[in-house]
Symmetry: C2
Subunit: 289 residues, 2 copies
């Protein structure tokens, strides 16, 4: 995996949902890179239209390649959230039909299987796939206490258990995220996503299924061991902090240098205001099991 | 751990919530055992009152021991669901105060830590703690296809991954239950419980976050490796099957001989009627890591 490679030619950004595609495009543009965004209809935000762009629907694989080729993009960043399309309702263009066996193979397996298959597929076509952090390394969470609040010794123990859980599950291509309070694993993320998991923690706290005085427990987020980091870096932002605060957690700990902090300043500000710590921890990742 | 020990004297049943305490009491009574149920107020069902019983509140440790001693119960079964009591709102009787350091130690750690601490505490007082399956082995899920539907080859692959996930997490004292569909781990249970996890799966399916035609995916349930099985055997029943069907899963797989099937016939009947398979699989459990 070529990390921190430099991109000189025009950058192609294949954009799913969320803020991240625009944040990365803005960072690339600020760096003087030419770029073209290919937005996936129904997934990407219309905010991508502030940059040169093309819209493609799921299944328009031919149109995707045509757009990239027309704008001379051999260097790609694939970024943003996607729902899993139901292949039965996707209209395939000729470019898709040519690549049908590959597309069918995507129907099986965990997220990481799908993403690394896509990366290999694009590399097989001669594209270079980069991580968002190659283009905008300033988006990665730094090491250490990032806001004005620091974790307690109890929080540190919960953080350690949380990273253990995430790594054990990551080896099975499951989650990136867990919530631990007082040595008790409250929630583990799978398909529902971090926001839904934090809502569940808030609900468990409200209904007394989990307890504690004041802010208790930590949200832990790290990439899966062996995760295809170029296309699926875990991400936090102010909304993550807000939801962690609603679940009355004491703070958020992420793998330093391996988790994107979209809206860096706003994320720290949200943690400071709600009294949560925000910690970047340098992890030694175990190799994928 | 003394399993399958025979109980000759009066059996004390410390009862939390759910059907299970009564099912076990009925089975013990049918076997001709004398018994006394100590029901935890706010947790146990009033249905326990059809057997000789005493109610105790959280914190009435002295009253608990007095009831057991009065009825000559040295053999205990601890069974049923409990919420984690908030120690700040529990009134302690003298028996509790004498055992305060033990009770405080329960406030930290995962479920299994708490349960095995309670078992050791009771054994330290000279009680013998039995599993519900010692008293009523007929409640355990049998080996093989239990209803009229059988898992497909795809289902078998999902079942294998599900057991892997549950065992990896169990080593960290997390969950007993996961849902896997087409090689993709959809949900992992932690504090929310199986019912809430299945509701989430149904919601993910309804909103298109997870997809598939017809009944797809499996619910897998097994004890944690090294779990204190005498007090925390995983359990399924007709309600589990109903919720799995609502989540449009293809079936339910449990560790044979290690998972209780409350309402055995009704559980199989529910699976048959909704078109789900129900499988008991003989597992080789890895030792606790």
């Amino acid at each position: 995996m070529a990390r921190r490679s430099t991109t000189s030619g025009p950058l192609g950004i294949i954009a799913g949902g969320g803020l991240l595609p625009c944040v990365v495009a803005d960072a690339a543009a600020a760096r003087g890179l030419a770029l073209h965004i290919v937005g996936i209809s129904g997934e990407a935000s219309h905010a991508i239209e502030r940059h040169p762009h093309t819209w493609v629907k799921w299944g328009e694989v031919g149109k995707l390649f045509a757009a990239l080729d027309k704008h001379g993009c051999r260097d790609l960043v694939i970024i943003g959230t996607v729902t899993r399309p139901d292949l039965a309702h996707v209209k395939l263009d000729f470019g898709a039909i040519k690549n049908l066996p590959f597309l069918v193979s995507l129907g099986m397996g965990g997220d990481d299987h799908v993403l690394s298959s896509i990366v290999r597929f694009l590399e097989g076509k001669g594209y270079r796939v980069h991580g968002a952090d190659d283009v905008a390394p300033e988006l990665l969470a730094a090491d250490g206490v990032l806001g004005k609040h620091a974790p307690s010794a109890d929080d540190r123990a919960d953080i350690a258990l949380g990273f253990e859980v995430v790594q054990a599950l990551g080896a099975l291509d499951v989650g990136q995220t867990a919530v631990v309070a007082k040595g008790y694993v409250v929630a583990v993320e799978a398909a529902e996503g971090t926001d839904a998991m934090l809502e569940r923690c808030a609900e468990l706290r409200r209904t007394g299924r989990t307890r504690g005085r004041g802010l208790t427990g930590v949200l832990v987020k790290a990439p899966k061991p062996g995760q295809e980091e170029r296309v699926d870096l875990p991400t936090i932002g102010p909304e993550t902090v807000r939801r962690a605060a609603d679940a009355r957690l004491a703070g958020v700990a992420v793998a330093a240098g391996q988790v994107l902090m979209v809206e860096h300043a706003a994320t720290i500000e949200a943690a400071d205001r709600r009294g949560l710590f925000l910690l970047g921890e340098r992890l030694t990742l175990k190799p994928k099991g």
